[in-house]
Symmetry: C2
Subunit: 404 residues, 2 copies
Amino acid sequence: MTLDEARALDRTDPLARFRDRFALPDGVIYLDGNSLGPLTHASRAAVADCTTRQWGDRLIRSWNEGWIDAPQRIGAKLAPLLGAHPHEVIAGDTTSANLFKALVAALRIDPKRRVIVSELGNFPTDLHIAEGAVACVPGAELRAVPRAQLADALGPDTAVLLLTHVHYKTAERFDMAAWTRAAHDAGALAVWDLSHSVGAVPLDLDGANADLAVGCTYKYLNGGPGAPAFLYVAERWQERLESPLSGWMGHAEPFSFTDRYQPGPGMKRWLVGTPPMLAMASLEAALDLWAEVEMATLATKSAQLFDILAAAGDALGLDCVTPRDPTLRGSHISFRHPHAYALAQALIARGVIGDFRDPDILRLGLTPLYLSHEDVWRAGEHLRGAIEAKEWQEARHQRRLAVT
Amino acid sequence: MTLDEARALDRTDPLARFRDRFALPDGVIYLDGNSLGPLTHASRAAVADCTTRQWGDRLIRSWNEGWIDAPQRIGAKLAPLLGAHPHEVIAGDTTSANLFKALVAALRIDPKRRVIVSELGNFPTDLHIAEGAVACVPGAELRAVPRAQLADALGPDTAVLLLTHVHYKTAERFDMAAWTRAAHDAGALAVWDLSHSVGAVPLDLDGANADLAVGCTYKYLNGGPGAPAFLYVAERWQERLESPLSGWMGHAEPFSFTDRYQPGPGMKRWLVGTPPMLAMASLEAALDLWAEVEMATLATKSAQLFDILAAAGDALGLDCVTPRDPTLRGSHISFRHPHAYALAQALIARGVIGDFRDPDILRLGLTPLYLSHEDVWRAGEHLRGAIEAKEWQEARHQRRLAVT
């Protein structure tokens, strides 16, 4: 692709109008929105309002003026992006904490089923939290196997199939409906981590008949650094399961201050402590933008952006580890390179911010709401320049850019 | 006390200089800082900087420019207020989640000790989370008893004595050193909830030889609505215990992305997910103010403010349920009144914001950093006016002001 061709695509890009909603710094091509999405003007204004007016002026009264319902209200705004009903999602806590709730609850359904099946090389916190969850349920164990052995690992002892829908390194995407069916066929529940999926690809949790899901809002959704995560529990499970983190906000009547825990109805029982309102305000404003986005349009542009960088990589002979078929991947592209870390640093020095993943992955996020085709074309040119000049030899070793 | 006497106290008040650091609204006497502390100008500026510069301009780079270490850095700033060493405290998650970590870890120390002893009428989330924790450890149980039976409830089966240091309703304060000793004498650990203590009374966790502690930063510390909570683990326990919430941020090397969980050194292993940076920024700025506060001076003024309202209550024949001895209480005053809820509403209508706790408690927070003696004297006058006019008869029943 030429620069003119990229510009031509930009001129008819139906998503181009979203670029002005973001407060991106000058001189940067930001290919790390899959790690930390950028600030929107809406989030900046919402945080300022939450700080100055809601907290500063309204003080404690704000709990009655929108704060206390924020986890459910924001959950309802997340629901369309997940293919869920509004009452099946809450926002709050971290992906890790929400996954712990989901796994422990699911392990307690059937005492004959005590195994969590998951994938080796899954995002680490999924496996780590699964280790913590099985330690909380007598006889439970984690069975992590290579992807090719997942189907065989499912059996009559399986309680949960825990998968990350889009892989954080390679961007490989599982077929959610098929794997949920496989879990169900084995008599197990399907628990999905959607951290690299939501806002990246169209999702249909209800359509896939998924059981539980968790995910992160600070990547493609632009919720803010460390923004509250989400938890989805299919309606049929909401009141059959109980959260191990039985905090007061999940109580049926938190303000009756009773000694005995009485889990609340629906998704309420999955709440734990007091919601972090500054972070909630940022997330909610970022989500309002998503209400205007057509996911099919997003997917089309994501594929176009991918093709630009994939072609640049091909011309350089780079090893692209991300599937070429857009239905088999998320919205980032990863190249394996022996000097991936230094190469990522060299690109940063050129104003192209991507990231590195141990041990040899250069990962570049493709976020159609604020990246133009020209941006990505220029990123490809920088990649070529950095590789041809072997700039990784000069790249200073700084501490890692991380937090995925 | 007369208005002139109150004003005279204000003229020599060494804490009066802090009032201008707060962004309190006009026309309000805020006696609810024990529920949601008010905004400081420092927090407002810190949140704006975190939003616009750190997130907006620096983007992912901010993780290497102060974000990733925030839980430990903010923990170290909390430490002096807790009587702890800087490396014994982290900020993050909610009080509920931190308590879950502490209780499950403590229950796993000795298989012969399986009981959590706590107090009936403790703040609900403490008992609710304890219910959730005992369900995660085979054979464990919660034994909640009236305060008068706590000593007898300790025995050879006790793993943990879980107490809230200052009671959320009455403000009664436990003798931390004595009760920690009682727990240790029984062979149990002492776990303290300091939500209504930190920033309210002088604390000495290390001096009391406490084991673990949790608490909230959005009350007296003014960290912000739903601000990150804290966890204290005495140095001797840090690496002998493991967190059930084994999230990736607690891993020895989070960015080596390994399949097996390897708990980090010291307090690091108690971290879970990605820290919520907007909320962290607000909290950190609020704590910087506390570095200037002498707790003994704070306690002296708290006692003076208490005496003003206690005298007002006495003159009205109100039933004060808070101890008169300042060493036996926190920093709020509670009156029992049959129309407490409507009375709280009547006071709010007069611009005096306190709160109500089921079923019959009017609770008024005494926060020396931003309340003058005159403020509290005027609150006493409003209390007299509302009671004498029986304004609770008119007070409209709105939804409860809550979230303690």
